[in-house]
């Protein structure tokens, strides 16, 4: 019985959490998509500021990580491929795995670490220092003021970052291709382009938009759920990172399965 009880309680807790995320996302979507037609200005200035922090400032670390990721993929792929003397397929192996899966996923992980945690910490700290209450008493809706710009920035920047990650991954793979598999740089890129379908890139980008929405929702939700006291901010930040990674993987699974079914 205790086990059933625990399962039930956790299920309800999980559903409540997802409900909370959905409510927050819904309100952010309202302020992004509908409120502008009712005379509320979209905060492009703040969104731009967020886009810089989320997107542009993530480029160096993302570039390095995905470049090495591409190289690792090439090495791992070649380990199997060389048994069949099929090293020339290393370009397509890297290209397809990067664009369909690892480009969006690695981008999401980097963005969770840099921005998802920062959202939770920022909003959590504002909650603790009564700044959220201050916004409310100044007739500034905290969701509109804080979450909407982050949402806009994330769903615009994640596809851009993912595209760049795809490119850097291919570049990483080309190092192996040129050094070991007898490709020229031009030949490797040509092989990549031949292997890729538009569908591969687009499915990756669709996933990245969903990841952006999930990361923003979780980061901001955890921030708003912060209790009293500074140590609660740390708890929220950790929870935001862990929960974001978990939900990104779940969303990834759902969409990958969907694209698998649709792609036949």
């Amino acid at each position: 019985m205790a086990l059933l009880e625990a399962v039930g309680r956790n299920t309800i807790g999980g559903l409540a959490y997802v409900g909370g995320l959905a409510r927050l996302s819904g309100r952010a979507a309202y302020f992004t998509l509908i409120a502008p037609f009712r005379g509320h200005a979209v905060r492009w200035g703040r969104a731009m500021h967020q886009a810089m922090a989320v997107g542009v400032e993530a480029l160096p670390i993302l570039s390095v990580i995905t470049f090495f990721m591409g190289l690792i993929l090439a090495l791992q792929g070649a380990y199997e491929l060389r048994k069949f003397g099929a090293l020339q397929f290393v370009a397509s192996a890297v290209a397809v795995s990067m664009t369909r899966e690892l480009g969006p996923l690695m981008t999401a992980v980097v963005v969770i670490g840099r921005s998802g945690s920062a959202f939770a910490a920022e909003i959590g700290t504002m909650k603790v220092t009564e700044e959220i209450d201050a916004l409310t008493t100044m007739a500034l809706n905290p969701v509109n003021f804080l979450v909407t710009p982050k949402f806009l920035a994330m769903i615009l920047m994640l596809p851009c970052l993912t595209t760049w990650a795809d490119f850097m991954g291919v570049m990483g793979g080309s190092v192996f291709g040129v050094a070991v598999a007898n490709f020229t740089v031009g030949g490797y890129i040509q092989a990549t382009l031949d292997a890729l379908l538009i569908r591969d890139i687009v499915t990756g980008l669709i996933k990245s938009v969903m990841f952006g929405a999930v990361i923003t929702a979780v980061g901001c939700y955890e921030g708003f759920e912060t209790g009293a006291g500074a140590e609660q901010v740390g708890r929220s930040t950790t929870a935001a990172v862990v929960m974001s990674i978990f939900l990104v993987v779940i969303v990834d699974l759902i969409f990958t399965a969907l694209f698998y079914v649709l792609g036949r």
Partner: protein
């Protein structure tokens, strides 16, 4: 629903009850605040005075009762209509609650940017004016983290006044400040009273400060109003709670030995003794 209050009553609270979950914090509070007066809400920790303040500014919804501000019962307003009322009120938070990512000047200018169509140059002038009124002229480009505790509170007052509110609220204005800085904040409140005839509501437990700035006082205890009256009435009150609060007498310690034993062991009291 009763009729809205008379014209010179800026804020009227009627039988206000607030509960968090199962616990009722305020058990039916009623009082009026008249235009231009300074009301001090006194109360100890856990008395419900902070909850009262949060309800008056619309941060907490009442579970029953009415809160009339500017001819509207804010207990029944939607969030959006409530925002119209909020724009006419200012709240200076206990810790200042300045936005850490903005300069002091941007903090003060924020409501003007968000809620008015004023030109940038006009906003800058108003912002400097408000900072000057609280004695922070020239500090507009400082970050809140560069200010001392007293300066943060002054900056918070400037921000609360940015929209020229009809009612200005203070949450524990002298908490955490040394006596000299706290006296400075009291003087600032007195100055705002005299210069702008502002309606001011102060929540505090500092007696010295309360008797200096108040026109009228309210003593809140355990979710009820124990006493209200002018400074002199309160000073001469015979009400035991008022005397206890004003004379700083501690709550009597647990004296019954059995009670004490129970408290230690955490056991239920023996039924028949």
């Amino acid at each position: 629903m009763s009729a809205p209050p008379a014209d010179d009553v800026v804020l009227s609270v009627r039988d206000l009850r607030v509960r968090y979950g199962d616990r009722e914090i305020l058990h039916g509070i009623s009082f009026d605040v008249h235009k231009g007066e300074t009301l001090v809400i006194l109360g100890g920790s856990g008395s419900g005075k902070s909850t009262l303040l949060r309800t008056l500014v619309g941060l907490q919804r009442p579970s029953a009762g009415e809160v009339w501000i500017r001819g509207k019962d804010i207990a029944k307003l939607s969030e959006e209509d409530l925002d119209d009322t909020r724009k006419r009120m200012g709240l200076s938070f206990q810790g200042g609650a300045l936005f850490g990512s903005m300069t002091v000047g941007e903090n003060v200018a924020l409501p003007l940017h968000e809620h008015t169509e004023l030109e940038e140059s006009t906003i800058q002038i108003i912002m400097r004016l408000k900072l000057e009124q609280v004695g922070l002229a020239g500090f507009e480009s400082y970050m809140p983290s560069q200010l001392s505790g007293g300066m943060k509170k002054r900056a918070a007052v400037a921000r609360a006044m940015a929209m020229d509110p009809e009612i200005l609220f203070f949450d524990e204005p002298s908490a955490g400040l040394d006596p000299i800085i706290a006296a400075g904040i009291d003087n600032l409140i007195l100055k705002l009273q005299k210069a702008f005839r502002m309606t001011i509501i102060v929540v505090t437990h500092e007696l010295a400060s309360a008797f200096l700035i108040a026109d009228r006082m309210l003593l809140v205890n355990k979710g009820n109003i124990e006493a209200q009256g002018t400074k002199d009435e309160m000073q001469n009150s015979k009400h035991p709670r008022v005397r206890q609060f004003l004379d700083r007498i501690a709550e009597p310690e647990v004296s019954e030995e059995m009670d004490y034993l129970q408290m230690l062991t955490g056991e239920a009291p023996p039924r028949a003794l």
